[in-house]
Amino acid sequence: MSYLELLKLASTEAVVVVTALVVLAIGLTTRREATGVTVATAQGDQNVGGSSSARTNAICSFIAALGLAIAIGTALMLPRKATLFSGMLVITPLTSLFKIICMALAFFAVLLTKSEKSLRHPGEYLAILLLATVGLMLLVSSEELLMIFIGLELLGLSLYVMVAFDKTDVRSAEAGLKYFLFGSTSSAFTLFGISLIYGMSGITSLAAISEKLATVSVQPLLAVGIVMTLIGFAFKIAAAPFHLWAPDAYQGAPIPSAAFIASGSKVASFVVLGKIVLVGFAPLHGDAAWHAMVAGWSPVLAALAALSILVGNFVALAQSNLRRLLAYSAVAHAGYTLIGLVAGDREGFSAALFYTTTYAITLVGAFGVVALVRRETAGDDFSNFSGLISRSPMLAGCMSIFMLSLAGIPPLAGFFGKFYLFSVALRADAGHGLLWLVAVALFGSLISLYYYLIVLKVIFVDEPSLAIASSPDHLSPDLLQRIAVAVLAAVVLFLGLMPDALAAGLLAAMP
């Protein structure tokens, strides 16, 4: 394996890393000028510093976005199939597709960053965001436990920093600490689980593990290994009962970080979780059918799914802050998505991936709206959204598309996603053994409708509260962000009307 070939196959990751370094360098050099100016003019430092920081932000975001665009281009030019180092870096149509999806999500997160005025060090922030994207891509494209763990850690470390980035906000620090503590504990569990699996099979490549495990029955030690490994991923996808960090992180973190955690991190985690259970642990599938459970990972995931759906939806009912509400709904959506993995098979996997992708797109858009509203009203409680329709019909319309897609209302992407997931789950078993799980999910989505409708009621029906109405209506110049939100809304609508565009691509890319 020559370095040149490695560079060629890992060119996408390399481009993103180089972009991150360039952005970091620009951030460093321009800020020095800015501080110089600030020192010189002691009086108007706030103003000058602010505008110079905004300029840095603009340059850095532009370069980051450009780098991601180039990286997407290189991803398109990757060979159809290749394997490096016995599965450490695998290139298949599926991995290429999800690399592109992850980079596109990161692209929108960069756009959100551009208009985040309060961000102190945009260069560093964007660099870390890009490095986190590298983590996503490694997770997506690796079929080897060691590499997966390094990818998880790279992603995790970047996200801890991104969550705690806003040092002027106490809640950001709290969120960062919580995320870090939960995250590192769950990493330890995963590492322990992986080491047990390695001990049993003597190898770290997923395909080889599956061969080794095919002859072994489910014995206690293996069960411990599987459960411990799954815990780490349950944490990443915020499945109950490992979701406790999510509300604080979603609410306290800077908005681009929250959007990135909710979208990119989730998509990549589902891809890799699916690969681990469906490829690596394939012989130990088990069965989650009612009255006919067979030990294996699928009963574990089924239990996680049911619990997440119930906990997420019920707790979300009590929220009055939009970001917290999105966090609990994220827990519920993780539960829905897990159903696809429980159903197993390529159909189930592709249903889960379709669902999580559309969910990620929806959440980035929703956070975009939250960011815009927060800029105008300095908050993201329900009261800040009241009467949004009269202030900005465009944002209100986009938000309703996002919320209704999450609720699973046609003709939006979420509706098809749910139909796909549930139908796959029912078809997975001839006797409709997973009907109980589908019933729980249907019940959960009925509950979820209530709180999504409450959000829409606040936006469309309520009168704008006095404090917001009387504040001077400064038209924010963030046209770019508005366009981004509108594009995302259009994508959600398009994927609902023409789901085949993504679903067929996913099925074709499935091995």
Binding site: F85, I128, M147, L157
Partner: protein, 167 residues
């Protein structure tokens, strides 16, 4: 290595690991950590992993711990105030932890391979360092480089989060 040495080092590790958490004085905590690392290094050596054992001593027990102590001294940290312990939560935590420990022990007890002794390793003609280096630059080249990126993230993060912002 005779079994009693294993038990000695393992218990040394656990006791001092607990001492890291229980000590109120940061300097005492840091020194306990050193002892814990030394025990770990001894265990590595007992598995014929000399290189890892040496690195454990040099890097962790040596360099990292010195940095820890430096920072503790520089920041002039004093002993932590005793906190009131929520006994209910503590009991719950201990019970859960105990259950986990018992489970793991019983599981390992039932595992057949755990009762057999490992065949001893063949003496390799090349030394450890050479082997590890060769692996790092051939089979494990990609993870090795990615770890570099990971360290970069950690560096940026630490600098940013600990930096004092001008008001």
């Amino acid at each position: 290595m005779p079994p009693f040495l294993f038990w000695l080092f393992a218990s040394l590790m656990l006791v001092f690991g607990a001492a890291v958490v229980l000590n109120r004085n940061p300097v005492a905590s840091a020194l306990s950590l050193v002892v814990s690392f030394l025990g770990l290094a001894a265990l590595f050596m007992s598995l014929d992993a000399y290189f890892v054992g040496i690195i454990q001593v040099l890097v962790y027990a040596g360099a990292v711990m010195v940095l820890f102590l430096f920072i503790i001294m520089l920041l002039n940290l004093r002993a932590e105030e005793g906190r009131r312990i929520n006994w209910l939560a503590a009991t719950g935590g201990i019970v859960v932890a105990l259950i986990l420990v018992i489970q793991i022990f019983s599981v390992i007890g039932h595992f057949q391979a755990a009762r057999q002794t490992f065949p001893s390793l063949e003496r390799s003609t090349t030394d450890d360092v050479w082997n590890i280096g060769a692996l790092l630059f051939s089979n494990y080249n990609l993870p090795f480089q990615i770890v570099g990126v990971l360290v970069l993230v950690a560096t940026i993060g630490v600098v940013l989060l600990s930096k004092r912002e001008p008001r």
